[in-house]
Symmetry: C2
Subunit: 273 residues, 2 copies
């Protein structure tokens, strides 16, 4: 996979320069697709590579909300393909069609595109339709790490990432995973804890945790982590449901060693401090 720019470090700034294989070299008609994790939302947490790709491509495709997050980076010369939330398959097909016409296309996804994001769907579609496209996945900072950094350092030890959305996964599979993660004393990060349609999953998840963990186990709740006006609270299993939890919330439940102090939630790695 070629990279069309190189980075130059300068006093107080980054400059992207095109190299010999830069975008002016469009002799190859083979389309290129970049699936780009844009991080939690605030542009300062975007990787330099993601920045570079979004600035550089012909077409940027994504869910409306994610397009809005990177809007500042998109120029008038670039085409934008944006769709609503449940239109993942349409969005990917439109993006891949644009690439097949020889365009360089970035499909953007919040966080890391490879964590409950668009990377898998793009690769599956390219495989199933046997498309002649080059696909590159650009990693990003996923919500688990963004929320953890806001809370302090809750992920310093083994952790499990579990989505409470049962739209595409049977609820009994999720329950089984919650039990095993709680029983194994993993730190647990919950994605998609609650939505308008799904109110009870977080209630049941808490019940499962209480069967394995102390009621005083620290729980960190972060809304809109590193995306504009983030809010966080550190509570515990006993009281966590008193807090506002919604679509843009990430919930982190500590292991048996996790403790909180001041505004921080920390899971010790095991050093003698």
């Amino acid at each position: 996979m070629r990279t069309s720019s190189i980075i130059e470090w300068q006093e107080d700034g980054i400059t992207l320069k095109e190299d010999e294989t830069g975008r002016s070299d469009s002799s190859s008609s083979r389309g290129e697709v970049y699936v780009v994790g844009i991080g939690p939302g605030d542009l300062e947490h975007l990787s330099i590579k993601a920045f570079q790709i979004i600035k550089d491509v012909d077409v940027v495709a994504g869910y409306n909300t994610y397009i809005d997050l990177v809007d500042e980076l998109i120029s008038k010369e670039q085409e934008v393909i944006s769709t609503g939330m449940t239109k993942e398959i349409d969005r990917v097909e439109m993006a891949l069609e644009a690439a097949q016409k020889g365009n360089r296309v970035a499909i953007v996804s919040s966080g890391d595109a490879g964590v409950y994001g668009m990377a898998g769907l793009v690769l599956e579609t390219v495989d199933k339709k046997d498309l002649e496209l080059e696909v590159e996945i650009i990693p990003g900072i996923t919500a688990a790490n963004a929320a953890a950094s806001t809370l302090g350092a809750p992920l310093m030890h083994d952790y499990a990432v579990i989505s409470l959305s049962d739209l595409l996964t049977p609820w009994k599979v999720i329950v089984d995973r919650l039990k095993r993660a709680a029983g194994g004393d993993f730190v647990v990060v919950l994605y998609n804890p609650k939505s308008k349609q799904r109110q009870q999953q977080i209630v049941k998840a808490r019940e499962i945790f209480l069967q394995h963990k102390e009621p005083a186990t620290p729980v960190g709740i972060v809304r809109s982590a590193k995306r504009g006006s983030e809010e966080m609270v550190i509570t515990d299993l006993e009281n966590m449901l008193d807090e506002e939890i919604g679509m843009v919330t990430t919930v982190i439940i500590g292991n048996s060693e996790t403790f909180s102090f001041a505004d921080s939630m920390v899971t010790p790695r095991g050093y003698e401090v």
Copy 2:
């Protein structure tokens, strides 16, 4: 926590400009400590914020190897505190001493500083010694996400991150977590799979997985993910031990739905493609 620079987007470049609360305003003598995740290694996967902080601080502290990774960003005016691998506590104490003198200090850690990194140790030390310091954790792209992007999209569904290092964690705790993660059909990411001193952990981990998963379960092995000359191979549980696995290797074991094609390893999210 103040941010001393703002970002300006320009044609083909990022410029960091000081804002009103910029570094020239050093009226506060209270030291500031930033624990900075520098991502997998290649500077293009550094976040813009991490870049900004490293350029901006008075002192950069870290393990020699990590200092080398960001060496290009450090100027002659900045002080560098670097120590060997097992000197984490010394390194943190030296960095915090520098901060207590009123310096702005960045403690750098590869990947995300909050995942088996330095963030927890810094916060624990500040708490225990009751130091008057402002600490901010800057998230980064952790090895799980970096390696996954190289392999394709293996982390599209629930996953567990487990370190095989038993230096600070009893081996029986690790074994229990491996069993639960395998039994719950999580995708599993193994950090620190092997070192010169620890050769058998990966062998035993594979045995545990084989008790719960098919021998043909895809396994992705990435060496030096997004750090210079990365190498990756997609194999399976049956054959994984034939591959070179070492200190800078990340191993990802698929769930029961994970499949591989061409050079990609993908865990389906559940969409009908």
